[in-house]
């Protein structure tokens, strides 16, 4: 970044403040829709921090993928499962909350002391003049070619798997007959689904 030191420090402070505040809001706010929007705020703040770390391509990918895809997907899932229900209180749930808070604070203290106590061997060279995006492209098509192709295969598998998992189990009654002639994905037969539901109830 070609910014002055003080400007970088102030923007890092503001961005980390918004990141941490939005992350705490994601975890603690009762309404899950507000949590989803605050999650988008966290992602955008982290993209700003990536810009401070000379990662312009990764900041763009963060905004495109996390805010544009993952956050929208989470909002759609919230809308699809939006059932107003008050969860039944679990006895002695404060034990779990308190112990988790203790473990998290202990882990944070451990990591902080490790970070401060370690003598990091900082590299002396400044960032590459061509920018990071040229270097990332070279890595993708030379020494990280196999993971790059495997990632594409994994994305295809996740796409097919998500479609199969989220598909409805059987067709509704009124449209079952005329849909038989149309090219459709093979659905689970109704008898199987009904017997599975019955055995589920019986259990």
């Amino acid at each position: 970044m070609n910014l002055a030191e003080g400007v970088q420090l102030v923007s890092l402070g503001l961005l980390s403040l918004t990141t941490l505040a939005a992350a705490i809001g994601v975890v603690l706010i009762a309404n899950v829709v507000y949590s989803a929007f605050l999650l988008g705020g966290t992602f955008i703040s982290i993209a700003g921090i990536y810009l401070l770390l000379n990662g312009d391509f990764v900041a763009t990918a963060q905004v495109l993928i996390y805010v544009g895809a993952v956050n929208v997907l989470i909002l759609f899932a919230i809308m699809l499962v939006n059932k107003q229900q008050n969860f039944a209180p679990v006895p002695r749930s404060w034990v779990r909350k308190a112990s988790t808070a203790v473990v998290c604070l202990g882990l944070f203290a451990l990591l902080s002391t490790m970070v401060i106590a370690t003598p990091w061997s900082l590299s002396a060279e400044s960032a590459s003049a061509k920018g990071a995006i040229v270097e990332i492209g070279k890595h993708f098509f030379s020494d990280f070619l196999l993971p790059f192709e495997l990632a594409s295969i994994l994305l295809l598998m996740a796409l097919v798997g998500a479609v199969i998992l989220a598909r409805r189990e059987f067709l509704p009654d009124e449209s079952a007959e005329e849909l038989d002639s149309v090219l459709t994905l093979p659905e689970r037969p109704r008898e199987l689904a009904a017997s599975a539901a019955r055995s589920d109830v019986g259990r």
């Binding site: 890092l12 990141t19 941490l20 992350a23 994601v26 975890v27 949590s35 999650l39 966290t42 992602f43 982290i46 921090i49 770390l53 990662g55 391509f57 990764v58 990918a61 963060q62 993928i65 996390y66 895809a69 993952v70 997907l73 989470i74 919230i78 499962v81 059932k83 229900q85 969860f87 039944a88 679990v90 988790t100 808070a101 473990v103 998290c104 604070l105 882990l107 944070f108 990591l111 970070v115 401060i116 990091w120 900082l122 590299s123 060279e125 400044s126 590459s128 270097e135 990332i136 890595h139 990632a151 994994l154 994305l155 996740a158 798997g161 998500a162 998992l165 989220a166 189990e169 589920d200």
Partner: protein, 101 residues
Amino acid sequence: MQLQYFLILAAALFCIGIYGLINSRNAVRVLMSVELMLNAVNLNLMAFSSYLDSLTVKGQVFTVFVIAIAAAEAAVGLAIVLAIYRNRDTVDMEQFNLLKW
């Protein structure tokens, strides 16, 4: 500007993610906490790539891979949440005990 600031910020984000992962009742919020933890790891990778390896930015390559895997994980996870909501008619994590014993 020091490396330590970024690492401490990432550690705080990771701990908030762990707290939300364990204490959330809503299944969608659990997935959001997992995304928070993945972002903390990405922040660590970016900080190391910028401060320790600024010529060959391998940390940024790994960050892009983690972002791709996280997108796949979010898609499959939300599909599982939808399927289990259709099966159980709830998103309460306390009632998802069908693999417990």
